[in-house]
């Protein structure tokens, strides 16, 4: 299943495959012709992805086959041991957490997991966390602090789950508490927005010293669909909302909301998951090496200043 704007790319890829097959069958030397087509394909991909509209990028961020939290956990970290439960409300499969090794250090990993197929989607509630998930995050932050484990969070959610039980159990309050507890970490904290960073549900585990984002990921105060429903009174105007919200990696870097964009393989992370995962691993490693140089007070201070300065306003006459 390919995204709409990927169609010309996919068509050209198919053509090249055909051509190779034909050349082989016919014993014909089409090496030069195929080489030209491949160059053209690469250019087409590059142009397409450079010129994606924001709404198209939302689709890439949500694309099937895009590596999920678990894919990163499996391939970036060694000796991952999942730790379950919030010791209060329950176990939320939308957030996977645990301790692992990374670059000769123990780390605490938290990842929102949307799921890789329908069954997992349902089990993971599409990565929409309940209060028990945020409480689990808070518990992990405390454990990380106690044992000096740098915290790495992977964000991928359309937002916290809006439901009756979630409201009953204080969805707002646990998000606030998670923001607060993460901001108090005395260890390095790195967030990577690997897909969709949806509102407070994402921010709750994104109050890091460094916030990185994959090139085609998005991070927004509200989903384009909900924004359109409210401001345009029509969810179908999501494309306009996406444009207005400036939710792409590039937009966010300009606003200092993210610190670094991690390049994706040409055609998007879903076209070459391993390459995307490698880039993320490299970026986390580089950032962690730098943050490891700071002491507790400096880490707190740096994190405070990082968020304190965000916002745009003007002095009044």
């Amino acid at each position: 299943m390919s995204l709409q704007f990927e169609k010309p790319i996919d068509d050209l890829e198919d053509k090249i495959v055909d051509m190779r097959k034909y050349a082989e069958e016919q014993g014909m030397d089409l090496y030069e012709e195929i080489g030209l087509l491949e160059k053209r394909l690469k250019r087409l991909k590059k142009e397409s992805f450079e010129n994606l509209t924001r709404w198209q990028r939302v689709h890439v961020a949500r694309a099937a086959g895009r590596p999920t939290g678990l894919d990163y956990i499996d391939k970036i970290f060694t000796n991952f041991n999942e730790l379950h439960g919030d010791r209060a409300l329950g176990e939320d499969p939308a957030l996977i957490s645990g301790i692992a090794e990374f670059n000769d250090q123990s780390v605490m990993v938290l990842a929102q997991q949307k799921g890789r197929d329908t069954k997992e989607n349902i089990h993971r509630n599409f990565g929409m966390m309940h209060p028990s998930g945020y409480r689990k995050a808070i518990r992990m932050f405390a454990l990380a602090d106690k044992f000096k484990l740098p915290v790495i969070t992977l964000v991928d959610t359309i937002g916290a789950y809006p439901g009756i039980a979630a409201e009953e159990r204080g969805q707002a309050l646990v998000i606030a508490e998670s923001i607060q507890r993460m901001s108090e970490l005395t260890v390095p904290a790195i967030t990577v927005v690997i897909g969709e960073g949806g509102s407070g549900g994402a921010l709750a585990i994104a109050v890091a010293n460094k916030v990185l984002i994959l090139e085609n990921s998005i991070y927004s105060v509200i989903s384009p669909e909900s924004c359109a429903a409210i401001l345009w009174r029509d969810a179908a105007e999501a494309e306009k909302a996406a444009e207005a919200l400036k939710l792409t990696a590039k937009d966010l870097l300009e606003l200092d909301i993210v610190d670094r964009i991690i390049e994706e393989p040409l055609g998007g992370a879903h076209k070459d998951p391993q390459a995307a995962i490698d880039s993320v691993a490299k970026a986390i490693k580089e950032e962690l090496i730098e943050l490891n140089k700071l002491d507790q007070a400096e880490l707190l201070q740096q994190r405070y200043e990082r968020f304190r300065k965000l916002g745009k306003f003007q002095e009044m006459a």
Partner: protein, 293 residues
Amino acid sequence: MALDRWFRRKKPNRKDDDKSPSGLWIKCDSCENQVYRKDIIANLHLCPDCNHHYRMPVDDRMEMLIDEDSFEQWSGTIGPVDPLGFVDLKTYPERIKAAQDSHKYPDAILTGAGLLDNQRVAIAIMDFSFNGGSMGSVVGEEIARAAERAAEEERAFITVAASGGARMQEGALSLMQMAKTTMSLAALASKRLPFISILTDPTSGGTTASFATLGDIIVAEPKALIAFAGPRVIEQTIKQELPEGFQRSEFLLNNGMLDDVINRKELKQKISKYINLLLANRTTIKVKHVPAI
């Protein structure tokens, strides 16, 4: 927005010819009695018949909570800009201008210092009537500044929340105000200064999910809507009607999320007691910022 409701209907058989807005009769939202609007305003925006809590303008709220002539305004020196060039059915600058034209302050927030029953406090009051009390860069910055300055000046800190959530027109910058306001509370905690959060009708979204639910003590006015996701969003998600009283103050109290639900008439006295009790044994020794182990 609450004001809209007040003009819904005039008492038909009113005799005097006072045509000013304050002279109008309205039908109470709750008891449905015909009530003289001036009487509501004079009664802390409470229905004189049934005690229904109407939304309260920021200045009235400040005057209710802060001792006479003691208020020193802190906010108001900064105003909103349009960082994203946001356009929906209107442009964001148009929306801002419209709001500013009908309001005294440049954004949905009033902060300042004052005395509350002779106790030194700082206060931040959100204005739901200004763009739905949405929290953008200015609201976030004013709250953070007020919390930090309260800590610096060793004042208890009080917030009065009334907000539809984050201000969409400032995009992710609004989202970041949740982190900023939350983090600004650390300065108060490190000095053991009380932070009392008052939730009023309505408080939802990013405001509920940040500083407003992090009070040492959290109270709400009766029957206030307090939510993460608003009732409409939830109804759309779960495709069923919500139970009576869902997301109202009493529901939150029952679910353990509030310290108390307090009638507006008793609010000042209660807050005064909280602050007095929480500060009574306070030493001025600073606490190191050490997480629980």
